[in-house]
Symmetry: C2
Subunit: 788 residues, 2 copies
């Protein structure tokens, strides 16, 4: 099996050996037949999802439904290209400059923390004030028994806010819709989807999230905060705009994918830290869920970023406690103080908790399944254009409003507990025990959950010592509604996080279970709510350590740790039997070429040579300008092997790898010679500055059309030595593909050269890119040998 596959793959490469001196490619070559570095043009097309591929031809970005426009995908290159130019630049720096570089790196990370904290704070204040105002307005009308008017106002506010959010997303930045965590996860895996971290996305994410949460949807601002954090980091890492002169020369040291990746990791962690006020949880979330690579230095820097977030938020909140922030009181920035719970539990309690874990795992897996289905349905609707997106969003908003306003009418009024005199019902302010339509001294239990912000509803569910506040029927109604609305809402075109729906559903389910088993278990129902939330989080997101720490930081009671851990372990294990985590599922669904930790089993029976196909286009170390230009023009490839040839070497040998972007910069610098002659890095720097070689932002940078070279220049020669990466990572062609994949992901590469096993062959026989490790692509090459 393996042998047959091998021959098929290598045969192609061998029958079309690369010409030692690259011949100009006269006609545009089809990306399907010429294969090597085509991750620019067909990374998405390589995947077997024609639906997504078709959508890519349409420019109205219908993919926004699932949060991003997947069309132009580019791979990121986390390998530092240590060519002569780079080395010369580094060598020329003094100790002071290196210190500056280090200091600046830290300053940037801390600054990201500051900005993310401010954004998170703004977000919370805005939501609390808008949603609070809306609820107060409605409550006032309810108090005056003008129920119909109250409903009209309520639904009017909600639909207006929802429509505004959807319009922002649909017209300005489609990439801002959805959670954003899958996209950040993909970015940190090395996939740069178009405009996913653009400034417009950032703005729409912030304001769209405020509007969406205020509109009363069953969605959270936590996922969007992660995306926001990543966008802020990306924006600050750009060092301002070159166009408006707002840049510094030294920021060029950060203009590479590696430093950007590190900063964006910090930003994502800061986002979690700001959303949950959980600095350690933020670091762990970044580590466990978001990043694909990790360095110990990063732990330290990420930690500093989240520490800044925690401290700034703390300061701002204590300022707000003085009543300077409108309706923003103890609400917002969820922090549930559950301390002083009982710290002992019996075997029966443990059994109840285990049951909760199992059920949470099952319901979590089911949630993922439904989310996947609904996203596929919505993507068809959203494909029809921006208007269709807005209509869908408004429809869901109306359904949500009807549920939250209508369902409380089904329940009868409950008399206030006598010990809470003065605190129940809460009239004319946000809080527990909503009176809704009830007479004085009574409250509506369902309204206390529905007719509230999500944060307040969670706080109510988690509250301790209130075993009798919510009945079984109330909790069941709320759970079913929230579970269904959570699934229905996720696909709409507003920034929407999954944490809050999952926590809401989990907490109500947990409290429900607690009420049902109350006779045999001595645990508080509030604690059951917390454990229910943990089980749902474990069941949908499949995170363990980070969810655990986030919940601990939210509740501030470490005595709960063993129970939370137990329930998470069980829920994750159960759910893993059915499907993948919700974020992984979404990454797959969006067709992003994500590199998994483990290579597919089918790759074990293949070797590296099996997936590279010819003809391989290489460049000579001193190449004719015209050849280079033609090569760049007629291929979309991003990296080209450079071959050292006579007279510079006795026999053709692999000189290294050159990047398209560097080639374009060098050509624009016009460092040409009449004959074949070498140039040094110093000569390059006579015309060009190191800054010129810095990697431009996503979708920017020189294009081959911008060069405008004359006929005479086309006949001259250009020396590629100064810009050639002399140490590209290589594998021998008979290397197991599975091991090559481990290497590729482990080192976070974009290109990997394949060198021949035997003598008498060209010094490089192919290039492996991300594309070549995609199971779909491999299955396309070997449909018979690889089942499934």
């Amino acid at each position: 099996m393996a042998a047959a596959a091998k021959e098929g793959g290598l045969g192609g490469a061998e029958s079309t050996p690369s010409t030692p001196l690259a011949t100009p490619v006269a006609t545009p070559v089809s990306t399907r037949s010429v294969k090597w570095e085509k991750d620019v043009e067909d990374a998405a097309g390589a995947l077997d999802r024609p639906l997504l591929h078709k959508r890519c031809t349409n420019t109205t970005s219908q993919m926004a439904v699932v949060g991003a426009n997947t069309c132009p995908i580019e791979s990121l290159d986390y390998e530092v290209v240590e060519n002569e130019v780079y080395n010369q630049d580094w060598r020329s720096r003094g100790k002071l400059q290196i210190f500056q570089y280090q200091a600046l790196k830290w300053a940037l990370a801390l600054f990201v923390g500051l900005v993310v904290a401010l954004v998170g704070f703004f977000n919370n204040i805005a939501v609390e004030n808008i949603a609070g105002f809306k609820l107060l307005l409605t409550s006032d009308l309810m108090l005056k028994d003008r129920y119909m008017m109250a409903f009209v106002v309520y639904i009017g506010c909600n639909t207006t806010l929802a429509a505004a959010a959807a319009a922002l997303c649909a017209y300005v930045a489609p990439a801002a819709a959805g959670s954003g965590i899958p996209e950040v996860k993909a970015y940190l895996n090395g996939i740069d989807a178009h405009s996913i971290l653009a400034p417009s996305t950032l703005l729409v994410k912030i304001f769209g999230s405020v509007l969406g949460v205020s509109a009363g949807f069953v969605l959270g601002k936590e996922g969007p905060m992660v995306h926001t954090g990543a966008c802020v980091a990306s924006f600050l890492g750009q060092g301002g705009s070159r166009k408006y002169g707002l840049t510094w020369n030294w920021i060029r040291y950060f203009k590479n994918d590696l430093d950007r990746r590190d900063l964006i990791t910090c930003g994502a962690a800061a986002g979690v830290a700001a959303a949950f006020r959980a600095p350690v949880g933020g670091v762990l979330f970044a580590l466990e869920e978001v990043t694909s690579w990790w360095r110990s230095a990063l732990l330290w820097r990420t930690f500093s970023t989240t520490a800044v977030v925690a401290m700034v938020l703390r300061g701002l909140i204590s300022y707000c406690r003085g009543g300077h922030c409108g309706l923003f009181g103890k609400g917002g920035l969820i922090m549930f103080d559950l301390s002083s719970r009982q710290a002992t539990y019996t075997a029966t309690d443990l059994a109840a908790v285990m049951l909760l874990g199992i059920l949470g795992g099952l319901l979590g897996a089911l949630f993922n399944y439904f989310v996947d289905r609904i996203l596929r349905v919505y993507s068809l609707l959203n494909e029809k254009g921006a208007r269709s997106k807005i209509i869908l969003t408004v429809t869901i908003s109306v359904i949500t409003s009807c549920c939250t306003f209508g369902l409380p009418w089904l329940t009868s009024c409950t008399p206030c507990p006598p010990e809470l005199a003065g605190k129940c019902p809460t009239i004319g302010r946000s809080g527990n025990f909503k009176n809704f339509q009830c007479p004085a001294g009574h409250y509506n239990a369902l309204a206390s959950l529905f007719f509230n912000t999500n944060d307040d509803a969670i706080r109510n569910l988690f509250s301790a010592g209130t075993d009798r506040e919510f009945g079984v029927a109330t909790l069941l109604t709320f759970f079913v509604t929230v579970y269904a609305l959570g699934i229905l809402t996720y696909g709409v075109a507003v920034p929407s996080g999954l944490f809050i729906p999952v926590i809401l559903a989990g907490a109500s389910f947990g409290r429900l279970t607690g009420s049902l088993v109350g006779s045999i278990s001595g645990l508080d129902t509030g604690l059951f709510a917390l454990l229910g939330a943990a089980s749902f989080l474990g069941g949908t997101m499949r995170m363990t350590v980070s969810v655990c720490v986030i919940l601990l930081e939210l509740t501030n009671d470490l005595h709960l740790l063993p129970l939370i851990m137990l329930v998470l372990l069980i829920a994750k294990t159960v759910a893993d039997c059915f499907n993948k985590g919700v974020y992984e599922q979404m990454v797959r669904m969006k067709g992003l070429p994500y590199l998994e930790v483990h290579a597919e089993p089918c790759m074990r029976s293949l070797v590296a040579g099996d997936v590279v196909s010819g003809p391989l286009i290489t460049l000579s170390s001193v190449e004719r300008v015209g050849t280079v230009v033609e090569t760049l023009r007629h291929t979309g490839h991003n990296g080209f092997p450079v071959i050292e040839e006579p007279p510079f070497a006795a026999a053709p040998e692999l000189c290294g790898l050159v990047l398209r972007s560097h080639l374009l910069v060098l050509l624009q610098g016009r460092i040409f010679t009449r004959g074949r002659a070498k140039a040094s890095a110093a000569e390059v720097f006579r015309t060009l500055a190191p800054f010129d070689f810095a990697k431009a932002g996503s979708g920017k940078g020189l294009k081959v059309e911008d060069l405008g070279l004359s006929e005479e220049e086309m006949d001259m020669y250009v020396d590629l030595h100064p810009i050639t990466n002399r140490s590209p990572y290589t594998v021998v062609e008979n290397m197991s593909l599975a091991k090559a994949a481990v290497l590729f992901r482990g080192l976070a590469l974009r290109h990997m050269c394949v060198v021949p096993m035997t003598q008498g062959r060209p010094p490089v026989v192919g290039i492996l890119t991300r594309h070549d490790f995609m199971p779909q692509y491999i299955r396309g090459l070997y449909p018979n040998t690889i089942p499934r």
Copy 2:
């Protein structure tokens, strides 16, 4: 510079091309002149520390002073050797067996947690009872005014316990001395120092730690718990003893370095979790400090292990609360409940905390410096034999006893605070407010710190609302004494952790600072003590996230998080300006060939070919038995490149890499043929079982002397194909050495083949091992080109 270096290095390799058919090496070759896979015999010798190297020739294991006998060091091989035998074995397994494998992996991890929790619990009960009994006995005598007798009893108990601990370490398991964290760190970096995880080490570590802590030394049981956890994991991962028939066949799947590494990571995390009752802290400690590689699957499994630890400990402690555990009350298993502290702080408080961070960083760096110095002095003393070790230990014990018993006499008695009537002084039981020589109604502040177990002293220092309990003079005396004793104690031959001395010194320093700045800062002195401990931990160990989480789990108050983070960040940053973390320093000092995350700058100007030197000994894919045996006999190398030659290939090509251990197994199986013929994996399995190829424990396994082949057999041929790893990781010889180092460490390799850049050379020109990336070795090769 680079060019010169390159020629020098490659010249050697080129002038002595490897013979296609390995010629038998007739005479033992010097490991200095023949270089490729010599990590067995001279990994330690490769380092430029003749002191350590000299010690290795001595068999009395004098290295025990620094915790391990570094002599026989072997590299670990974390690459799964996917040869035909392995693949055949895997393919033959059913789904059930794969499920069994997965389930067993989990069961083992959870079982490790259970055992470590039990060991940790035993450890604490034993210490609390022995030390408690000793203190009660002395206190009783003090109450009767028999001070001299009390001193004699006190010092007698201490020296006896100390001598017993030292004797255990000196005679039974020298590797058990010291903290053990550096050795575990080195093991997880891929260095297997002899007997570091042996069962005898485990036993001595447990009992030696109990005796040492009970003896009143200024040392902790936390570091040893980490080592204990690793030992437990290693022991359980062996699957019992083959010698006594206590093994299962399926445990062979875990008999490889990769699975062992994962299990030992779980064990180390479990150790921290058991020591501090900090499950999340344990995971983070393993991630941040101990391991060199991390996989997300591991996070999840490690977390489960520590969850088991937390739950088991919780159950056992609640059992003990019923008074079933002797003197073990609320003491032991330190848990400081600092909740209900004030949660607000001013700018002045922040300034005071920052000052504390700076001073903590400075004093921490100084601590590391002194520990390094004292270890060097002690290593000279300990070199003289076991008796010398015991004498040193007893001397330090006497000094400690004199300090702890004598210094309290210098201080005058303090009247008990009136509100604590009945609780002060604590007579006849362990606790705060020791009366010592004081009359009724008074207590001796210094005795409350000195004349107590370390855990109780820390609890006193951390206690809130007791601003007046300890005066400035008391705290200063205690701080200076503990700081000095902590340094003096670390090198003695007992299992000794650094956490407790550092926390003690830091807490007293913090409380001292708190007392001094009390007028301008409103923070509690107990909180200052906690922050002081954090600053010292940051300053010595340079951990951030894990220390932070451990302290949070110890104190159970998340409101302290921002302050702890701030102080840790400052302390680490300050201390990093002076020296390395204490564990890294010890790894270096022990001469363990540790692979750092970042390649040394000097490696940037070298290429892979520069450090490999000839002659390279290779084997043919079907080789004469005699040649194989001779090669094995006369080299200590662990991996040999296998060359495919005519008639099996048109031209010589790299077939793969074969391991010494596999060669020995194959030879012992006597799967020989008269002529050059191929054998399949199935044929191998007719004689051998897959179990036979499982990696034996450290220092075990077949030796070439055990083979006993006849003359006739020596002239036969053996086919190496079934045991050859067909996909060894390779680099091209002109690959930058720095990048090769990143690759080597990133993939956790033991061997890396160097392939030629140009045509007409042998298919493999050298092998890189851990040894070749050691800065000392490189500096030895290129003394002129690389400064420092």
